[in-house]
Structures are given as structure tokens and as C-alpha cells.
Symmetry: C2
Subunit: 494 residues, 2 copies
């Protein structure tokens, strides 16, 4: 276990953690949102970010500071914390973004890390190569090798107590991301940004984003703090946390505000299209859209930035509360309905159900079946594995209905879609305490049928009767040959 | 058209309306939330409800006022608006709730309506019988007859400019609700509460609630303002609005607060179980849960009530914005993922897709496909009706892929699940501008296959080739015999 990152609680691959930042003398609770501070522009003062919005950590760009003589001198003179007037943790980026945008920068990893150390950064960043999506594999491999050299250079720099980022690249090749994650995890570095995902998010490729994150997570150890670099829209925080991301950074709150764009957990609206503020924050309770439109540019920008921050920090709190309550995937279910691309992202996450299952706690709050997608959740997968290890009696009734009056069976197991059959003694254990809709669906019945198949396969010498409540053919087809099929009602007459 | 209620905009069966309340001299925009004011307890002062939360209308109980000598005298003396210090519209309930709870009350419809008029109520209520769910049909019919007599009595009272409620009862018999709606709509009365749904909501029977509302709506004219009496939880506002409800009343904001219960659009939490406030309101931004728990009872109750109001009013604004943007059903998709019973409610709503379709605007914002349920939306239904009226050329390719290079076809139509085929010229028309996920699902393909069947049935003399992109058997089975089936790719080689 890395001693600067401790996991406190988990749900799916999401977790509440504590990142100790020794140089700042603070502990940051994750998931955390790091507002991006442009050293030249202060839409909302860093001290207010801390006192009013609860920001424990922020991020700024050491390359910009280094490139501006005045800023550089002041940063070296008074230090970054005094320069920004912020007493939480400060992360510094290296200029990799500028490298990706402009093709060239004039500092090396060794120089910029030394500079970050000198100005008092709490978490520094080497100069990695943010390889964009969809490049030829050779390019992705070549640039990944360069990034890995930068990590080696970073290990050589004496950065004292400063933590150092180890970015994970690899473009849209999940196996390269996994390899990069494994390599980064093997360094002495401390925090692991998954890089170059902004182009995916900008083009709403949330499914590809999830595949990239899942790849990196397979390579990184469970105890690695993961930063989804450039991810600042509250719409996708819950999905990314469920995939195992711990840190987000938002430049968007300010950039969007400058452009009159208004964030919600369901997407982005332009101020001119809003007639009613769909939000309970102080800005939206005190002002109507017409009123806001009439403020001068500076005031309007500040108020929109504050709204964007309120929404973003509230979503982080909502996610933490969901992890504590064990219903993070229920929150993801809701967020998946904000845009078809978010649904793609959730469906992609469920493709990794086995990977999620390895980190998911054995017992949580109440499982809610909330859509056909719920049938593919890791908890259903795990139940099937588990029930496939139970020894059944020789003649067993598996029933969605009540207990029959006759005693032709050695045992009567309950059947609940999407889980399928389980001995009654397990009824009060997670996830079988689930709340499920009255109006079930094909996917739930099919998953339940898979459960029947698991139980039958594990007990070849037992005989089973399944009494189902109106399952469709597509589910009944998945019930193995040897299992006798009835409908509920018929078993109750026995 | 009733001249005191005008419809301004609509989405599904939801609408933005203007309820003119002549006695108060105000116009109330619907959907509206009416906070319930207990004349004896003021958790949040009515004047603050108006100035800080934007409440334009509230509801109080004339029976309680009438039963308390001091309150009665003051109300008769200074009037309800001065008594409550509220200059918006005030609705008064009649004591029907007390009748339902205690079996007997000591006023008649004529007496209590006269009293409501005398104290200056803006919308009065007769004494109806709130028949609970699941009673024998005979009881529901008998009590409905009594309620209908009360409406006749109410028509007889000279209530001046005061509007009068015409409650719609009928227990859990949708046909009785429809009949009751038709009867109420035929009276001279003004506002239409759907009554006795609280027991359904308390036991999370949202599907039954939707069936009851859909029944009442079939009987009521489209221009009838509908109050879902007793509905105060923001979790279900969007669903209820989509079904055609215009007015809600919340006693819950205060009652829940008294019991340390914290409302969210995804359900209710007990304060003791909250570690992070999942909300951006002023209360939740200024205080943490630990801090709130340490306030004295009165202060804590007031702050929780304010939070509950912020969440509730923000949801009403969100719903109005969704109606304006034409994405109310997208909001309902998200809210349906708050509890399996809400999913049941949404699935029940889609059982009434034809009924919704009759009120749904022809063109709205962008249709988002957000779940398997989306395949059953009224817009899909309407597209199928419409495409079934188009004359096709004699040899038509229906394809999910690109346009083939050959010209073996007279026309090439696009195919997009869940809509199915349509001529390319319609591509830019609603709902065919839809955003759909890359990872489609069976239900979308099956709905698209129904579209193919409609087109084929409407053009028996044409021949069709369907080039699909990996549809499951369950969808291909719905494609009629005569349609030739290929997969995309094969058509591109032509």
C-alpha cells in the first residue's frame, strides 16, 4: 500500500480515499475536484474556492508561470501558495498540454520538475506526450516510450517531499494503457493521471473513455490514486468514479462561464436558451436567467462560474455519499440517462463487470434494479459465481412464487430476476435484499435463467423444477435441458 | 377553452400553463408547487416562501381554521391573506382529508365553501370522499356518487370570483377515474384535483398512480388544470407532469424536516445517514451534515425545510425548462432511475404512449435515446404511424449503412433504430434528428423492425431490401416475409 493514499470505502471500482500531500501538510479526501487556476486570470479567487466551495486542492500550470518573467520571479520569490493565496494542496502541470497543442516546448522534465519544486508545488508533473486518440499503433508505442523515459527522468530529480505525477498514456489502445499503467505503477512516482482523454470527452466518446480508463486501471495497482486529466464536466464524474478515477480537474467551470455556458449534471446549456434555472444553488435561487443576462460581462461570468462550481462540487459530494451508501451504480444509472453517449459509457462500463467485481464490496446498501442494464451489474455476476458453488439437495424447487403446500421437494429456493435462484436462508443477504420493479424485463429474466444454469451445472446429480412467473422464451431458452419448467401457480397446487 | 387556464407550451402530456386566479389578482405559472401552510405552525414564513423560493401559490386548510375559534375569528376579521401574510394565490382544502382520516367531519360542502369564500380564499374545495386504493368497486362507485353530489352542491354556492376545485375520485379503477374526470369536466368548477393518491405514493405504487392519473386525464378535457393532490416529493414531479399534472402541494417539505428527513430528486435520506450533502443549495453549501446535526431542533428543522423547498422548487424549474427545451421525457428517463418503483411508473406511463402522443408536440428539441424504454416513447409510435402513410417507390433499399454505389434501387431510405426506415428527405425533421447510442439494443432494433413492417404493409406493390447492422433474431423475426434481408456491408458492394 502506498503510504500517501489510503482507501476508506468503495463501491464498484469507485472509492473514497485519503491522499496525503506532505509538502502542503494536508490530506485531500477523494474523489476530489481540482479547480484549474490560470495564473493570469482569477474568475473566482482561490481563497474563496476553499472557504465557500470546499476545494482542498487545485491545479495550475507551471509552464505558464515559468514562461512569464514577472510570474516566474514572484513564484520563486514568495512561493506558489502565497502567489495564489491558497493554503490547500497545489498541483502543477508541466506544459505537456502546450506540447500537444503547439508541437514543441522549451523545457525538459528535469528542468520543469526542478522549477515546480522551487516554486513550492505540492504535486509536480513531468513532460509526458499526450498521444491523441486513434493514432497508428506505432506512434502510440513510440510516444509511450518517450513518456516512460520522462518518468525515469522524473525519478532522478530530487523533489524532496513534493509528490510527482506519473501520467499514463497509450492513445485508444487499452492494452497499451494497461502496459503504461503497469509501468507507471512500478516507478517511485505517486499520482497517476490518465492522459489525453480530453479529445474523447469533447467528442462524447464516453465508451472509448471507459475502455481507456479500464485499461489503465488493470495495469495500475488498486492503491494507485488516479487522476482523469482534463475531466471537468459533472455529467461524467459518477461514471468515471465508478470506473476507478479519484481526481478530476475543472478548467471548464471558468471557460464555460466566459462563454455563457451553464453546466448541469445532465449536460451543458447556453444561457440564452434558459428560461428557468434548473438548479437549487445560491446563484440560481437568487437570480432568474433574464436577470443574469442583464449583468455586465464580468459579473455574469463570475456568477456563472460560481454556479458551475456549485454544481460540480455538489456532484462530488453526491458521489461520495453514494459510495458511503453503497449505491454509486444507482447514481450512474441516473447519469447514464443524460445523453446517449453517456448510456454508451455505462454500457461500456458493464462490459468490464468482472473487473469491477474484483473491487466491489461484498455487502453494500440495497441493490436497486433500475434498467435492463442493471442485469449486467457486477453484483449479479458475483451472485451467479457464488450460487454456482452451493451444494443443492437432490430434488429442488426453484420458484418465483410461494412455498408449495406439498413436500415433494427436499428444498425450495427462491428465484428473483435478475439474480435467479438462491436458498431461502440467503434472502436477507446482499444483494438478494434487492428492490426490483414489479414490471420486470427480458434481461432480468435472462440473467435469472443464467443463474438457474449455474446452479444446475454445479449440481449434476440433483433434479430441479423451475416455477417462473411469465418469463419470455429468450429466458426459458437459457434454462438447461434437464430442468423441468412450470409457471408459478402450477407449483402452488402441488 | 377555460378562460382561466391557458396552455403555453407542451411536451408529452406535460405542459406549461397559466392559471389566472381572479380573486387574488395573480396569474400562476404551472407546473407549480403549492407549499402547504399549517395555520398553527409556520416552519418557513409564507412571505419568505414568496420572496426567497418564488412560491406564487400556497394551500392551507379551511377546516382547521374553522375548527379553531381564535383562527376562525381572525380569518373572518382580517382575511386569509393578512392572516398568513401572503399576497399570492391561496387555495383552501375543505377537511376531506380529516374526513378520510377520522371518518366524520361536522361541515357540509355548502357550509365550508361559504366559509372559504368568507375568509378570502382564492380557490375553494368542496367536501369530497377520498376513496382509498383497492376498495371493492361498489364502494368506489358509491363514494364517487357522493363526491359528484358535493360538486353539484358546490356549483350551487355563490362563491363570487373564487375558483372552486372539482376533485376526481374513483379509487384504483381507471375507468371510474375517467368517468369521474368526465363528470367533473362537465361541471362549472375550475380546478381538478386527482384525489386519494397519497396511499399509492406512500407505498411506492407509482405505476398504479400513473394509471389513475391517465384515467382521470382521459375524462378531463385537455384544458383542465390538474392538481395531483398530496403529491409533494420532487422525485416524482417530472413523471407526474409528463402524465399531465399541473399542480402539486407539499406538506412534506415541513413534515420531513421535523423528522430530520432530507429530500432529493432521487429519494429521501435521513439526516443521520448523510455524511456529504448531495446538493448545491445555500443550506448544503454553507453547512456540512455534522454541523447541521448540532443545531438546536428548531433551527435544524427550519434549515432542513429550506433545503427541501430549494430541491422541490429547483425540480419544478428544471421541469419547466425541460418542457421548453422539448426534453421532458429525457428528464423522466433520468428520474425513473431513482427507485425500481419509479421505473415501474415510467414503464406504466409508456403503456399510455398513444394517449401521450395525442398531446405531444409534432416537433421538439432533439430526441435522445436513453434506455430500452425509449423505444416505446410516443415519438417512435408517431413516426411509425406517419411512415406508414408514405408512398414508396417500387424497389427500395432500407439501409443502416451508406448509399450503395450501384443504382439497382429506385430509392434508398435510411434506417435508424428505434425509428426504422424513412426517406432521406426526412432526415432533418423531428424526431429523426435523434441522438442514439452507438451500442444499440434489442428493443431499438425491434422497434425499427416494426417500422419496416409498417412501410411494407403500406406499400404492398413495392419490393424492399433491408440492410441491417447486426440486428438480433428477435428484431429480424418482426420483418415481414416479403422483405429481403441483408447486412450492411453486403449492400455497399453492389
Amino acid at each position: 500500500m502506498r503510504d500517501h493514499f489510503e482507501l476508506r470505502d468503495g463501491d464498484a471500482a469507485g472509492r473514497i480515499g485519503e491522499l496525503t500531500v506532505p509538502r502542503a501538510g494536508v490530506t485531500v479526501e477523494t474523489p476530489a475536484l481540482m479547480p484549474v487556476i490560470n495564473p493570469n486570470i482569477r474568475t473566482v479567487a482561490p481563497a474563496r474556492l476553499r472557504s465557500e466551495f470546499g476545494a482542498e486542492i487545485l491545479i495550475t500550470n507551471s509552464y505558464i508561470i515559468n514562461s512569464n518573467e514577472d510570474l516566474r520571479e514572484r513564484a520563486l520569490d514568495v512561493g506558489l501558495h502565497e502567489l495564489l493565496d491558497f493554503d490547500g494542496a497545489i498541483v502543477t502541470d508541466s506544459g505537456s498540454f502546450q506540447l500537444a497543442e503547439y508541437g514543441d516546448i522549451d523545457v525538459t522534465t528535469r528542468e520543469i520538475l526542478q522549477f515546480q519544486h522551487d516554486i513550492g508545488s505540492d504535486v509536480g508533473t513531468p513532460v509526458d506526450i499526450p498521444t491523441p486518440p486513434d493514432v497508428p499503433r506505432e506512434q502510440a508505442e513510440r510516444e509511450l516510450a518517450t513518456t516512460e523515459e520522462a518518468l525515469a527522468d522524473a525519478e532522478d530529480v530530487d523533489t524532496g517531499e513534493m509528490l510527482v505525477n506519473a501520467p499514463v498514456q497509450g492513445s485508444t489502445y487499452p492494452d497499451l494503457r494497461e502496459e503504461a499503467g503497469r509501468h507507471a505503477d512500478g516507478t517511485e512516482l505517486d499520482v497517476f493521471p490518465v492522459g489525453a482523454v480530453v479529445p474523447l470527452m469533447n467528442s462524447y466518446r464516453y465508451a472509448d473513455m471507459i475502455d481507456v480508463v479500464a485499461g489503465a486501471k488493470r495495469g495500475l495497482g488498486r492503491d494507485a490514486p488516479v487522476h482523469l486529466f482534463g475531466a471537468g464536466h459533472p455529467m461524467m464524474f459518477a461514471l468515471a468514479v465508478a470506473a476507478g478515477c479519484d481526481l478530476f480537474d475543472s478548467a471548464a467551470y471558468a471557460i464555460y462561464a466566459r462563454d455563457d455556458r451553464y453546466m448541469t449534471v445532465r449536460g451543458t446549456e447556453h444561457l440564452e436558451d434558459i428560461e428557468y434555472f434548473p438548479c437549487s444553488c445560491a446563484v440560481c435561487s437568487a437570480h432568474g436567467p433574464d436577470e443574469l443576462r442583464e449583468f455586465d460581462d464580468e459579473e455574469r461570468e463570475r456568477l456563472l462560474a460560481e454556479h458551475n462550481l456549485h454544481v460540480s462540487f455538489a456532484e462530488i459530494r453526491r458521489i461520495k455519499q453514494a459510495i458511503r451508501s453503497g449505491n454509486l451504480l444507482e447514481l450512474v444509472e441516473s447519469r447514464a440517462r443524460s445523453h446517449p453517449a453517456m448510456l454508451d459509457g455505462y454500457r461500456a462500463l458493464l462490459d468490464h463487470a468482472d473487473q469491477l467485481e474484483r473491487e466491489d464490496p461484498v455487502s453494500k446498501g440495497s441493490f436497486f434494479y433500475l434498467s435492463n442494464e442493471s442485469a449486467r451489474r457486477p453484483e449479479v455476476r458475483r451472485h451467479h459465481e457464488r450460487v454456482g458453488r452451493i451444494d443443492a439437495d437432490s430434488r429442488v424447487l426453484l420458484t418465483q412464487g410461494g412455498k408449495p403446500s406439498g413436500d415433494a421437494f427436499d428444498a425450495v429456493w427462491r428465484v428473483v430476476p435478475p439474480f435467479g435462484p438462491f436458498p431461502r436462508a440467503l434472502s436477507e443477504t446482499y444483494p438478494l435484499t434487492a428492490e426490483v420493479p414489479e414490471r420486470t424485463d427480458r434481461e432480468a429474466c435472462e440473467a435469472a435463467a443464467e443463474g438457474v444454469a449455474r446452479v444446475a451445472a454445479a449440481n449434476p446429480d440433483s433434479s430441479f423444477v423451475l416455477a417462473h412467473d411469465g418469463w419470455p422464451d429468450s429466458a426459458l431458452e437459457r434454462v438447461p435441458e434437464g430442468v423441468e419448467i412450470e409457471t408459478v401457480g402450477s407449483d402452488e397446487r402441488e
